[in-house]
């Protein structure tokens, strides 16, 4: 299929915006509402979509990000610049992942910014990792620990493909037994493991002497209880547990019927929508011919995510 060619230099698109699609980029193909997938741009390759074929050499490379691309069957898609948020929605799952709602509050509560040094375990599918790398770039670093050998290797591979491997170190070990592999250098530590209380000591030693922030993510309250106790025992302060959920609204124009309440002996009464009143003629809502009232509404979804995990934050301080 593809022409054999030299490995391409990877652009750092996940941490730096570019204008045009380049060979070696990871781009996001957007087909429509909540329908998208990532694609590795490569000379000579083709990608199948339900709208037809996309030829990388002619349709992608050199085009501006955000462009509309017409596929062979005539339908079209948009090609988007990758971001950690888009990656989170489209990455291949090797484990349950963290979504942007939790990632957002974690980033802010850990006070992460360019130059921050962060430790993370477990790496999992790399959803949070990509977001952390983006935030600490270009001068920070992520030390991420994963005890599953294949997942650790896959993560390394992905970071390399995405041009961010200079900002991250993946270590394959058990953080509860062997820690993060670094000491006294981290501004923040993040734990998403089954027994975080076993890693609190290691987290403390990974953090800078003068202090830092820690966060532990656990689905079960029992885990949270044990973790909070451990944090207290190790002298962490400002221990705080919270949860955050996302509520999405669909914007819809809704038409509600006006019930037929019949007529009184005299004219026009009781419906609340007085058609004889001239000031009502221009009213955007009433549509009395059809007996309906229209309005715009933000309608919640039928189902929403009710729980991801509890987030516990704390501070390590000198005094």
């Amino acid at each position: 299929m593809g022409v054999n060619h030299q490995p391409t230099t990877v652009t750092m698109s996940f941490i730096e915006y570019g204008d045009t699609i380049k060979d070696g980029d990871t781009a996001i193909v957007f087909l429509g509402h909540e329908s998208m997938f990532p694609v590795k741009v490569q000379h000579g390759t083709v990608t199948q979509t339900k709208y037809g074929v996309i030829r990388h050499s002619t349709d992608l490379i050199g085009k501006k990000y955000g462009s509309k691309v017409t596929c062979s069957k005539g339908g079209w898609v948009f090609i988007l610049h990758p971001t950690p948020e888009l990656w989170t929605m489209n990455l291949p799952h090797r484990t349950q992942i963290l979504y942007s709602t939790d990632i957002s509050i974690i980033t802010m509560m850990l006070e992460l910014k360019p130059g921050s040094i962060v430790c993370e375990s477990g790496t999992g599918s790399g959803s949070l990792s990509h977001a952390l790398i983006r935030t600490v770039a270009p001068t920070g670093h992520l030390y991420t620990v994963e005890f599953h050998q294949q997942r650790a290797e896959k993560a390394r591979e992905e970071f390399r493909e995405h041009g961010v491997d200079h900002l991250v170190t993946v270590t394959n070990q058990d953080v509860c037994k062997n820690g993060f592999g670094v000491s006294n250098i981290a501004d923040a530590v993040f734990l998403d493991i089954p027994s975080p209380w076993e890693a609190i000591g290691h987290a403390k030693s990974a953090l800078k002497t003068e202090g830092g922030r820690i966060c532990s993510f656990s689905p079960c309250i029992e885990q949270v209880q044990r973790t909070c106790l451990a944090m207290e025992e190790y002298g962490f302060t400002e221990i705080n547990t919270l949860e955050i959920l996302l509520r999405v609204y669909n914007v819809r124009t809704i038409s509600l019927q006006i019930p037929d309440l019949g007529k009184a002996a005299e004219d026009n009464s009781g419906t609340g929508f007085d058609s004889s009143n001239p000031s009502n003629q221009g009213s955007p809502g009433a549509n009395l011919q059809q007996g309906t009232v229209q309005f715009k509404s933000g309608v919640p979804l039928r189902e929403m995510v009710g729980h991801t995990g509890y987030l516990t934050f704390a501070t390590k301080s000198l005094v």
């Binding site: 915006y17 501006k64 955000g66 610049h81 209880q225 000198l318």
Partner: protein, 482 residues
């Protein structure tokens, strides 16, 4: 650009005082009396200590680092099993207000006062262990006055503003702010357009996430941008080198190509102060957050000029050539003013040029204004395939904004959302959500720009249809993670 490790409290810093869940931002100045949580003290002794240090307030109103005292271990004390026999008649505490005051005046430490209260409570030993715990915690909170001085950050300042002066930030709750920063992919190297009327808090948060890299163009209403909260962050000077500002009142002219610097917004000094006062909602009377609210950056040079003039006047007060010199001063003053105006015009032209490139990496909006006109105009300056996010305290304006954006085209992945936040008390056998929580933290509309297909009205309506969510049907759980 990283903050020095173990940053120390320095004079001139903006520091945040913390006691429990209560925060207050104050300037670190010598011999400046601070009131915080019913206590009066000076910050002088705190200077030189590391941020994060906890202090006690001594009798003289000075700060003293808290000694790490060993907690008096509660040996298996006497405790009851339930409260069936405990009557709350308000008479169980034998110490009176005066007794306690006397103890305080004697300089007895908080810990000792709490001990006294326990010993003089007739019902203490009947309380359950949990109730005793709760009682001690409550008394400690009241009498053990410890204050921690923390370094400002988005986390600290957004929590503080939401608790103390939510009106100033349009009730933007800190988790909503966190969502904005991530949804907007705010990171080092961006060219961001920021429009906010949140006292400069959003601007500061964006600057923190950009770490001094990239550039920011702040759009402002009225005479000048308000950056009161921004100065709290304590960013190093280089961060401000690539911070630009542009008046909203010139946006239409810029978009239509008729922009000129001939008519500038009126004098920044007057307008900025007015802007600050009317920044919050009318329901709240703003109490000054800091002892000194900082005026916009364009103000500073003018201030120095006036004080210089003042000095010169004092020195020459008795001088025979006083009048001559004064005339010279006036001429110089006028020249200075002209220079400043010229500089402002020059900056404005430069910023206009930056906007005209129409290649911003993102747009982030949080203001008291209706979002629709802001979005429709400011999106013109954003490159394709870039995220934008707009906050509104209310949902309805965002419904309209969403509709107008669909009509305009050139945007995909539109999402209207809010976050639900709940804090927990976690204690052995006593874990539960906290008793109160925020009723609402505002709403967000986010999306991604794409190349705008102007001209073909058919394709844009087709596009809108394709981008529209499918009619409500059963959603799989996987699809719910938005």
């Amino acid at each position: 650009m990283e903050a020095s490790p173990g940053a120390r409290i320095r004079e001139g810093d903006c520091a945040v005082l913390k006691r429990g869940e209560v925060f207050k931002a104050v300037p670190v100045l010598r011999r400046r009396k601070i009131i915080f949580e019913k206590q009066w003290f000076y910050l002088d002794n705190a200077i030189g200590h590391i941020y994060g240090t906890t202090f006690e307030v001594t009798n003289g109103g000075n700060l003293q680092p808290k000694q790490d005292v060993e907690e008096t271990t509660t040996e298996t004390k006497e405790a009851g099993t339930d409260n069936r026999n405990i009557v709350d008649d308000g008479k169980s505490q034998k110490l009176t207000h005066d007794d306690i005051k006397a103890l305080k005046d004697k300089g007895i430490k908080g810990q000792e006062i709490v001990q006294q209260l326990i010993e003089n409570s007739t019902t203490f030993r009947d309380k359950t262990e949990f109730a005793q715990d709760k009682y001690i915690k409550k008394k400690k909170k009241k009498y053990e006055a410890v204050i921690t001085i923390v370094k400002p950050s988005t986390r600290i300042l957004s929590t503080m503003y939401y608790a103390r002066e939510p009106g100033k930030i349009n009730h933007l709750r800190y988790d909503t702010l966190a969502q904005m920063l991530t949804l907007g992919n705010i990171h080092a190297g961006n060219k961001m357009i920021v429009m906010e009327t949140c006292a400069g808090l959003l601007l500061g948060a964006v600057m923190e996430r950009m770490g001094g890299y990239g550039s920011i163009i702040q759009m402002y209403p009225g005479g000048g941008p308000v950056r009161a909260a921004t100065s709290c962050f304590g960013f190093p000077k280089p961060y401000f080198d690539n911070l630009h500002e542009f008046p909203l009142s010139k946006v239409q002219s810029l978009l239509s190509g008729t922009f000129s610097t001939e008519t500038l917004p009126s004098d920044p000094e007057d307008n900025a102060l007015v802007e600050e006062e009317s920044n919050g909602l009318t329901e709240e009377k703003q109490t000054s957050l800091q002892e000194t609210e900082e005026e916009p950056t364009t103000e500073a040079p003018m201030e120095i000029n006036q004080s210089e003039e003042q000095e010169t006047m004092d020195i020459n007060a008795e001088d025979v050539e006083f009048k001559e010199n004064k005339e010279k001063e006036n001429k110089e003053n006028v020249r200075e003013k002209q220079m400043k105006q010229w500089e402002r015009r020059k900056k404005l032209t430069e910023t206009a040029a930056l906007l005209r490139e129409k290649n911003a990496d993102g747009l982030i909006v949080a203001s008291k204004f209706h979002p629709t006109p802001l979005l429709l105009s400011l999106l013109e300056f954003v490159a394709p395939s870039r995220p934008f996010v707009v906050y509104c305290q209310y949902k309805e304006p965002l419904l309209e904004c969403y509709t107008k954006l669909r009509e305009r085209g050139g945007v995909i992945n539109l999402k209207l959302s809010e976050t639900w936040l709940r804090n927990y008390q976690v204690l052995p056998d006593r874990s539960h959500p906290k008793l109160t929580m925020s009723g609402g933290g505002g709403y967000l509309l986010s999306g991604i720009t794409v190349v705008l297909d102007k001209g073909k009205s058919d394709s844009s309506s087709l596009e809108a249809l394709k981008m529209e969510e499918p009619s409500p049907k059963r959603c799989k759980v996987q699809d719910l993670h938005c």
